[in-house]
């Protein structure tokens, strides 16, 4: 996609779309490959964590819910199901697998925040990333590790 085409698209729309569904912001910005990669990895991580907690670890009354909400649409969809299952099933609060599953879901949310910011930057500052990569390839100074 050219910089001209990118400039017609709103960075805020990319940010919101990336929150609604992981990867949708990159699809909107024209990076379909990355969009699929982010959608599969972030949604997969969220669903894997949800399954490891036997569906009982996306609960709004736990502090983990704040980072989990970063995963946006999929997390919002799974929350009512989690609330329903937590009432119906006995929850093993001390299970290490459940705890790691909760960590998976929280990390999925935090990673999606990173992806949302990347989608925003792609459209708000077009060409900056390519310049940084070019500088890295030619041995120039870069600001990231």
């Amino acid at each position: 996609m050219t910089d001209g085409a990118a400039s017609l698209r709103s960075p805020v729309a990319a940010l919101v779309l990336a929150w609604i569904f992981p990867g949708a912001g990159h699809a909107y910005a024209g990076q379909r490959g990355k969009a699929v990669l982010f959608a599969v990895l972030i949604t997969g991580l969220l669903v894997a964590g949800f399954a490891m907690g036997r569906g009982t670890n996306l609960l709004p009354n736990e502090w983990w819910f704040a980072p989990q909400l970063g995963a946006g649409g999929p997390a919002a969809l799974l929350t009512p199901l989690s609330q329903y299952l937590a009432v119906r099933r006995p929850v093993d609060w001390a299970s290490p697998v459940r705890e790691i599953g909760t960590l998976y879901t929280a990390i999925a949310g935090l990673l999606n925040l990173l992806v949302m910011m990347d989608a925003y930057v792609l459209l708000a500052y077009p060409g900056e990333k390519q310049e940084r990569e070019r500088a890295r390839e030619t041995g120039g100074k870069t600001d990231d590790a």
């Binding site: 490959g33 990355k34 990669l37 982010f38 990895l41 972030i42 997969g44 991580l45 894997a48 490891m52 290490p96 697998v97 790691i100 960590l103 998976y104 990390i107 990673l111 990173l114 992806v115 990347d118 990333k129 390519q130 990569e133 990231d144």
Partner: protein, 73 residues
């Protein structure tokens, strides 16, 4: 000391150790983080592998250090 090290590594490679779940998590973090930094698939793959190995080894070293401290003191 050798017994302690042997116990540490035996428990680490045990199939019942829930720490195995951290490797897929680390792999996803590595790929997503590096995909936001690079555009070319080759760069993403190489830097993700580098990130994965360095963090895994760093965590292993940290775990070993904490384990030895817990035994010695």
């Amino acid at each position: 000391m050798l017994d302690a090290l042997s116990h540490f590594f035996r428990s680490l490679v045990s199939l019942h150790n829930p720490l195995w779940f951290f490797y897929p998590l680390l792999a996803v973090i590595a790929v997503v983080y590096k995909a936001t930094k690079f555009d070319k698939p080759k760069d993403i793959a190489l830097s993700s592998i580098h990130f994965f190995v360095s963090v895994a080894l760093g965590m292993l070293a940290l775990g070993l250090a904490f384990y030895l401290v817990s035994i010695l003191f």
